[in-house]
C-alpha cells in the first residue's frame, strides 16, 4: 500500500521537480531539510498529492517537521484517506 503511494510521488519529484526522470529517490531520503525540494516546488508537491490522492495538505503542513521523506508523506496521506 505504502509503495503504491510512494511510487507516483517519487516519479513526480524526479521528473517534474528535479527534471531528472532517471533519478531514484529513496523512501527515507530527506527531501526538504536537505534542500532537494525548495519552498516553491513543495507547494507543487502538495498540489500533486491533493490531486492524486484526494487528501488535503494544509499550507501550515508544507514543512520538514510534518514530513521530510517519502515514507513520512505516505503515512500522512494514508492517515487521511
Amino acid at each position: 500500500m505504502t509503495q503504491e503511494i510512494i511510487q507516483p510521488i517519487a516519479t513526480f519529484i524526479a521528473a517534474e521537480i528535479l527534471k531528472q526522470p532517471k533519478r531514484s529517490i529513496q523512501p527515507a531520503e530527506a527531501l526538504i531539510s536537505s534542500g532537494l525540494i525548495d519552498s516553491f516546488s513543495l507547494v507543487d508537491l502538495g498540489l500533486f498529492v491533493e490531486e492524486t490522492f484526494g487528501v488535503r495538505i494544509e499550507d501550515t503542513e508544507l514543512n520538514a517537521e510534518t514530513f521530510d521523506t517519502l515514507e513520512q508523506l505516505a503515512r500522512l496521506i494514508q492517515s487521511r484517506q
Binding site: 527534471k19 531528472q20 534542500g35 525548495d38 519552498s39 507547494v43 507543487d44 498540489l47 499550507d59 501550515t60
Partner: protein
C-alpha cells in the same frame, strides 16, 4: 537580556519543575510569563507607558481569545480564575508603587491604583463584549487586520513619531521631545505573529482548544518573549500539558546550549560589536579592506548574538519541560541562498511560508502565469515582508528585495543547470569544491545585504557599498 535576568529566568524555570510536575507547573509558568511581560519592558519616556503597553498586550490577547472561544468555555471556572489571577497580578504590580520607594519589577513606577482599577474595568468590559460577539471568524479576520495595522504604525518611524506626539499631548507631556523610539514595545513583533498564527488557524478550524492560561503562557512565554522563536501553539501546549519531572531534565542539552549561548552572545557577539559595521562607524572608515572587516564583523556579530540568544531561550525553556523550535541551523555554512533561508531565523520563515508564501503560490498556480513569474513574485513578496517586519523603512525594503531577488536567481540557476551540475559533481572532491565555493559565495551575498539592514538610509548604504569596492 542581561546575565542576571537570564540566571533568574533559568532559576524560575527550574523552580517550576522542582515544585510541580503537573498542572501547577503550567500555572507557575503563566504567572512568571505575565510578570516578565512587565519586568522586561524597557522604560519609556511617555509616562506610565512601560506599564500600559504590556497591559494593552494582555488586553488584546484576552479579548481575542474570548472572541474566538465558545462562550461556555470562556465562562468556565478555570478560565475565570485565570482572568482573576491576571487582574490580581496587575494590582500587585500597582501595589509596588506604595510599598517600594523605587520601581520594583517595572521599569518605572507603576501607575496609581485607581488608574489600574479603571484599566481593569475597561479590560473586563472589552473581554465581555468580545465574548458576546458571536462571529469568531470575523473576529479572527478583524483581529489579524488590526494587528497588521498596529505593526505598521509601530514599525514605521514617521507613524510611530506621530503616535508618540499624540500620546504625549494626551498625557500632558511636551510633544516637542517625542521620538519614534518612544513606543518600544518589548516582544510585540513576536507576540503579534503568534497571535496571527492562532487567529488564522482558528479560521481554518485547526486551532486546538486552549484555556486562557495556556493561551497567555504561549503568547508571553518568558524565555521566548523578547526575541522568539515563534513556536506553534499546538506544539507548545502539548509540552505544557505533559507531566514533566525533575528527573526528565536533559542536563546535557541544557548545559551545552546555555554554555554555547553565553559564549556566543556575551563573548563573541559583544567583542565583534566593537568593530562591527554600525551607523556610527560607517562614515569613518575610508579604506576598502577596513570596510570589509567591518562588514564581516557585523555579519558574524548578528549571527552570534541572535543564535546565542536562541540557544539561551531553548536552554531555559527546557528546564521547564518546553521544547522550543530551533531558529538557526549553521546558516553561514549553507551552499546556496535557498538553504541559507531554510536555516536562518527558521521560525519566522516557517511562519511566512505557512501564512503568506504557500497560500500565495497555491493561488497563483491556478492562473496561467508562467512559472518563473510566480516564483519571482512570491519570493519578492515574502522577503519584502520579512524585511518590513524588522522596520517599515526603505532600507529594510531594499534588504528584502535583495534576498527575494537572490532566491529567485538561485531558483532559476538550479532549474537551468541542476542536471549538468549534478553530472559534473561525480566525485567527492568536486562535491566538496561545489559546497565550499557555494558557501563562500552565499556568505558574500548575505554580507552585502546586511549593509542595507544595519545602515539607516539608502545614501549611507550606497556610500558604504562604494567604499567597499574602493570607489569612494
Amino acid at each position: 537580556m542581561t546575565l542576571p535576568q537570564i540566571a533568574l529566568g533559568a532559576f524560575l524555570a527550574l523552580l517550576a519543575t522542582f515544585l510541580f510536575s503537573g498542572k501547577r507547573r503550567g500555572f507557575l509558568l503563566f504567572t512568571f510569563s505575565l510578570l516578565a511581560l512587565f519586568a522586561l519592558q524597557p522604560a519609556l519616556p511617555i509616562r506610565y507607558f512601560d506599564f500600559w503597553l504590556p497591559t494593552l498586550a494582555l488586553g488584546l490577547v484576552m479579548g481575542l481569545w474570548a472572541g474566538i472561544t465558545p462562550l461556555e468555555t470562556v465562562l468556565s471556572k478555570e478560565n475565570l480564575l485565570s482572568a482573576a489571577w491576571a487582574a490580581t497580578l496587575l494590582l500587585l504590580l500597582g501595589l509596588t508603587r506604595i510599598i517600594f520607594p523605587n520601581p520594583f519589577l517595572t521599569a518605572s513606577l507603576a501607575p496609581r491604583m485607581q488608574y489600574i482599577f479603571l484599566a481593569l474595568v475597561i479590560l473586563a468590559l472589552g473581554i465581555f463584549l468580545s465574548s458576546r460577539v458571536r462571529a469568531p471568524r470575523q473576529m479572527a479576520q478583524a483581529g489579524t487586520l488590526a494587528l497588521v495595522l498596529l505593526l505598521i504604525v509601530l514599525k514605521s518611524p514617521q507613524l510611530s513619531l506621530w503616535s508618540a506626539q499624540l500620546l504625549r499631548v494626551l498625557n500632558g507631556q511636551s510633544a516637542e521631545t517625542a521620538s519614534s523610539f518612544d513606543l518600544r514595545w518589548l516582544g510585540f513583533s513576536y507576540i503579534a505573529f503568534r497571535l496571527i498564527h492562532t487567529l488564522q488557524d482558528h479560521i481554518k478550524g485547526r486551532l486546538p482548544s486552549v484555556s486562557l492560561q495556556e493561551y497567555i503562557t504561549y503568547l508571553f512565554f518568558y524565555p521566548a518573549l523578547s526575541a522568539g522563536p515563534i513556536d506553534r501553539v499546538e506544539r507548545f501546549v502539548k509540552d505544557l500539558r505533559a507531566p514533566f519531572h525533575l528527573a526528565e531534565i536533559d542536563w546535557v542539552f541544557i548545559t551545552r546550549r546555555m554554555t554555547l549561548g553565553l559564549f556566543k552572545k556575551f563573548i563573541l557577539a559583544d567583542s565583534l560589536a566593537l568593530i562591527a559595521l554600525s551607523p556610527a562607524n560607517a562614515a569613518q572608515v575610508t579604506r576598502a579592506p577596513w570596510a570589509w572587516i567591518l562588514l564581516y564583523a557585523y555579519a558574524l556579530q548578528i549571527y552570534f548574538d541572535f543564535s546565542g540568544y536562541t540557544d539561551l531561550a531553548l536552554g531555559v525553556a527546557r528546564l521547564a519541560g518546553i521544547q522550543l523550535p530551533e531558529n538557526f541551523n549553521q546558516p553561514y555554512l549553507k551552499p546556496n541562498l535557498t538553504q541559507f533561508w531554510n536555516s536562518w531565523h527558521m521560525s519566522l520563515t516557517q511562519w511566512l511560508r505557512a501564512y503568506v508564501f504557500n497560500p500565495l503560490t497555491r493561488a497563483l498556480r491556478g492562473t496561467s502565469l508562467p512559472v518563473w513569474s510566480i516564483i519571482l513574485l512570491t519570493q519578492l513578496v515574502s522577503m519584502t515582508l520579512i524585511g518590513l517586519w524588522h522596520g517599515v523603512t526603505l532600507n529594510f525594503l531594499i534588504w528584502g528585495l535583495w534576498h527575494g531577488l537572490g532566491l529567485f536567481l538561485h531558483n532559476r540557476w538550479q532549474d537551468a543547470f541542476r542536471v549538468r551540475v549534478t553530472a559534473w559533481a561525480g566525485t567527492p572532491a568536486r562535491q566538496a569544491l561545489l559546497a565550499v565555493s557555494g558557501a563562500v559565495f552565499t556568505f558574500q551575498y548575505v554580507a552585502l545585504g546586511w549593509i542595507w539592514f544595519v545602515l539607516p538610509t539608502p545614501q549611507t548604504a550606497l556610500a558604504f557599498l562604494f567604499r567597499l569596492f574602493g570607489a569612494a
